[in-house]
């Protein structure tokens, strides 16, 4: 196996580890830090793919990832939690060891799903498709088991990271126009979520999204 491919596998494994770390994390600040690390790992793996396959447009998407997901969005989220003054622990619906066991089940499912696909592919990154799929599913799980709005948004953003990684590992990345569009969407999405947070808190005095069920009765 060439060395570049081994490095990509290592980074993919690291991504999976970060996804699990986010799933088991109780503090909002650490969650944001982990999200930034996930972006950094993703950018590194994109650079290695770009270097080993000679695809210059991937350098742009790596730069975009660093700017957006390692610097800008974590900074916005930091500002948000400072303004909202929330630093307390994140509540989870089910306890953390159980969440992690469910996570292992999801990883097995994703790997089983991806193995037949990667056997027909011949890209340098083919074996990482399963990991990309697994991190998408784990982010989904995080959105499901978290009760507060901010961890759910971080779950959403890290799901986008997973999709990005899947795109790189399956097809060496999407065309630059598409990537720029997605990047803009994510950025705008973060802003809109930020505005939503303020509105939710103004309405319910809390960011617990269980309160939103009351809206049905009006």
């Amino acid at each position: 196996m060439p060395l570049a491919s081994q490095f990509i596998n290592l980074l993919a494994a690291l991504l999976l580890l970060i996804a699990f770390a986010m799933l088991s994390q109780r503090r909002v600040l650490t969650l944001i830090k982990l999200f930034a690390w996930q972006g950094a790992t993703l950018a590194t793996s994109i650079v290695i793919v770009a270097w080993s396959t000679g695809q210059p447009h991937l350098y742009y998407s790596a730069t975009l990832t660093v700017l957006l997901k390692v610097i800008l969005i974590p900074w916005i989220l930091h500002r948000l939690i400072n303004r909202l003054n929330i630093r307390w622990d994140v509540e989870t619906l089910i306890n953390i060891p159980t969440t992690m066991l469910v996570g292992i089940g999801l990883v097995i499912f994703a790997f089983a799903l991806a193995t037949p696909i990667s056997q027909t592919a011949n890209a340098i990154t083919r074996s990482t498709l399963g990991i990309a799929l697994a991190s998408v599913l784990l982010s989904f799980l995080m959105m499901i088991v978290r009760r507060k709005a901010i961890p759910q948004v971080i779950g959403f953003l890290s799901m986008e990271n997973g999709l990005f990684f899947a795109a790189t590992s399956a097809t060496y990345g999407m065309p630059l126009v598409v990537e720029l569009g997605i990047a803009l969407d994510v950025l705008v999405g973060t802003f809109i979520f930020g505005i939503f947070f303020f509105h939710i808190r103004e309405q319910f005095d809390s960011l617990d999204i269980r309160h939103m069920e009351k809206l049905k009765e009006d």
Binding site: Q6, F7, N9, L17, M100, L101, I104, S127
Partner: protein, 316 residues
Amino acid sequence: MNLSAGIAFQILQSVFVVLAAPLLMGWINQCRAWLQNRSAPSLLLPYYTLIKLFHKDAVIARNASPLFRITPYVLFGCMWLAAGIIPVLATDLPFAPAADIIALVAVFALARVFSALAAMDIGTAFGGLGARREMLIGFLAEPAMLMALFTAAFICGSTQLTTIVDTLAHRQFAIYPGLAFAAVAFLMVLLAENARIPIDNPTTHLELTMVHEAMILEYSARHLALIEWAVAIKLFAYMTLGLALFVPWGIASAGDWNELPLALAALTAKLALAGAGLALIETVFAKLRLFLAPEFLSTAFLLGVLGMLTHFLVQA
């Protein structure tokens, strides 16, 4: 390999482990004292403690059953057996085919069951409390340990420790993400199984927080000495097992006397580093609440499983 040289190697290794284990303990204590800005005790202090304890008269509770008396010998025997199976200095020892990694975990489990039974034998409150806690930790640590070992076993296609270590030591350079996960899982299990700091504090004097120490409160003199010695051998065995699996370079093959000095030097250097690392971990981290131990060990299990799954996916 001729048989007599192999047997000589086997005896040499077994005796070496038993004699060197307290030295490793002394080294860890010394490192920890330095890191905590205390003046360090002598490197040989564990030996002096053992000698002191062997010269004392044993006191045994009136209602103690024979189980209580034989447990220290069983513990010492189990750990010595484990030390003979693990390739510490050389692979392919004549004794190695006797047990693979699963049997090795079973040997450790046997020792745990005996120490828990002996702790409950006298009927003191602290003994029963310690035994229950020990079994809780043990039953969570065992699957994590097996998963970490299975990752290495899958990479090498065998559960024989000798074959695994041989394959890993003489392979071409390659990055195994699975093995890295397994190494972290193994480290966490090592800390939990040897009653080190995130799970249990080996130097505690507070009975309510004790796990391992609470089980041996009733022992004295030669029995206590044997148990302390067995604990030292257990830590030594776990550390050399980790070193053999995850940094196996420099290990000799049995019967080859020329490789022995190099293997011995490599082992000493690796153990010195690992001991300092363990002392660092014990200084940096605080002891976890007992109810957080399942979370710690389920993380170890998770890492072990992830290691195995990643190995399958990357090799496919």
